[in-house]
Amino acid sequence: MAHAAENSEVTPAILHEVKPASLPRAVLVENNRSFAWITEKICSIIEGKTPTWWWVCFILACCVASFTVAGIVYLVATGVGVWGHANPVNWAWDIVNFVFWIGIGHAGTLISAILCLLRQKWRTSINRAAEAMTIFAVVCAGIFPVFHVGRVWYAFYLFPIPNSNVIWQNFRSPLEWDVFAVSTYGTVSVLFWYVGLIPDLAVLRDRFEAAGNKLRATLYGLFAMGWRGSNRHWSNYEMAYLVLAGISTPLVLSVHTIVSFDFAVSLLPGWHTTIFPPYFVAGAIFSGFGMVLTLMLPLRAIYGLEDLITQYHIDCMCKITLATGTIVGYAYGMEFFIAWYGANPNEGFAFVNRAFGHYAWAYWIMISCNVITPQFFWFKSVRNNTSFVWILSIFVNVGMWFERFVIIVTSLARDFLPSSWGYYSPSIVEIFTFFGTFGVFSVLFLLFIRFLPIMPMAELKAVTPQADVHGGDHH
């Protein structure tokens, strides 16, 4: 505003009347908390005694996870036939679950990378947990295709490693692209998460050392790499973080694009559509934000993090869920339009069959959860009601699972020739394996909240008003 004052002679008179609107900046850390309060709040979660609820949840999660272990052991010992796949539905729950979990991961990368590039500072309090969610979701996702290959001990054939057959991978196949996309995604997500953790691990190292806990001080210290808060380091660190955010943005978009290529590059009616890449990416972000809300709202309540995950944060997350959910709803409509407009009878049948065929129940669950649920987020009173938001987030998770089910199973069950039609139902082994992945995810997430800082302390401190070297005088 200084410019306007200096050039007052040359500015038209009318501008003298115009006063700059003073838009208050959203408060990201409420109650004007100090730096030390933030450190204490986050570290106390790790340093305190393990709460009883944690043990209860952990044991429960281990029990649930054992279903996946049992399902996989049985599959490896017996063969892939223990799953319900049969002609013509040779891709079913395994790929549904794979796409479901990968999609969940995408919100974590969106929050950590895209919102970082867009300078959305509200991301700071949720990005650590969301990135953890990404990594654990990728772990759960990876289980399914790896075991679907059948002889899992040959799973390394997916990678171009010289083998005794001297044959190489078929790089013309989108499935091979997917191998690279998902493994790159997993690796880069872990690296990005780890880089973000380094300064906070150094804080924990120092605190455990001061508390006389040698073992944990050594372990945290080892991974903190000797971080000492030097500004010469911060300078490179911030640039590295920015570059990682810059490359993770095209990464997250490309991963779900390539996942959608698995379908779109085929010739099957209902799969062979060009709308798939953007539609899958929007759906992934939608489901991921559903999961972020599902995880963060209980954490916020349990640990009393209301000053760090404020109502403003919940509002932002709800609005992104609303926006992406509406994009998904638009894509559902557009698919139908193109099926009609394209005048291909097979394509038209595939979509009518989705909505009114044998799997109509799945289709309408999908529509209600994905198109209707997010519309509640238009209302401020809904966004302010944390329990209701949490319930809606569960519906989003359910709906997005059904979306993948509808896309994959209905298209395969009714393809070109009526003679090859079929109806797919999952076997109990598949159901157990999928059910168990929620346990696997929860075990990992519980370990994360127990042993690692659930919020990036350094980043939180940097968005507080007292971190501003100009004393809040923004230009």
Partner: protein, 177 residues
């Protein structure tokens, strides 16, 4: 020489204080000095006179290597080492090689970025004279420090101490080497 200190350390309580002080130390012409802050203080790089970080150049090299690795791997495996006809498609085309090369570009950029950051920062370094200072742990929490090293050509115990005092530094202490 054995008794010469590593440098001088001064404490600052707030972000604006260290920002002002860093400008004074920079303007006094010091080169071998550093700020210790619990979080990246916005604008402090400029106040310290630091140039743009070199990390992106290393990232770029990583990205180029990644892209070339992807393209050449797919060319060599599919069109040179073991030609296999699949669906009448060409043995090599940059079109189908692109998704994998794209992912490898990102993967190698990530490795180069993180490796480059560690290399430029001289990390991991699990020992540093600064870490011996009794209050340094607060530099991870809510306190800010300026460290001026004795190897700086302008370093002079009395003058440097005076500069730090004049810049508002508290508890100015000699660090042992």
């Amino acid at each position: 020489m054995a008794t010469s200190p590593y440098g001088l350390i001064a404490t600052f309580d707030t972000a604006p204080e260290i920002y002002q002080a860093a400008q004074k130390v920079r303007d006094a012409g010091y080169k071998n000095w550093d700020c210790i802050t619990p979080f990246p203080v916005h604008g402090l790089d400029g106040a310290m006179g630091l140039g743009r970080s070199l990390v992106p150049r290393i990232s770029l090299v990583g990205g180029i290597i990644g892209f070339c690795t992807g393209m050449s791997m797919i060319f060599w495996t599919g069109a040179v080492d073991y030609k296999l006809i699949v669906g009448g498609k060409p043995f090599f085309s940059p079109m189908f090689a692109f998704p994998v090369s794209y992912e490898l570009t990102i993967l190698f950029t990530a490795f180069a970025t993180i490796g480059g950051m560690f290399f430029l920062n001289g990390l991991p370094m699990h020992y540093h004279p600064v870490l011996k200072y009794k209050d340094i742990k607060r530099g991870m929490d809510d306190t800010f420090f300026i460290v001026i090293e004795a190897r700086d050509p302008r370093f002079n115990l009395a003058n440097t101490k005076a500069l730090l005092e004049q810049a508002g530094g508290k508890a100015i202490t000699e660090l042992e080497a």
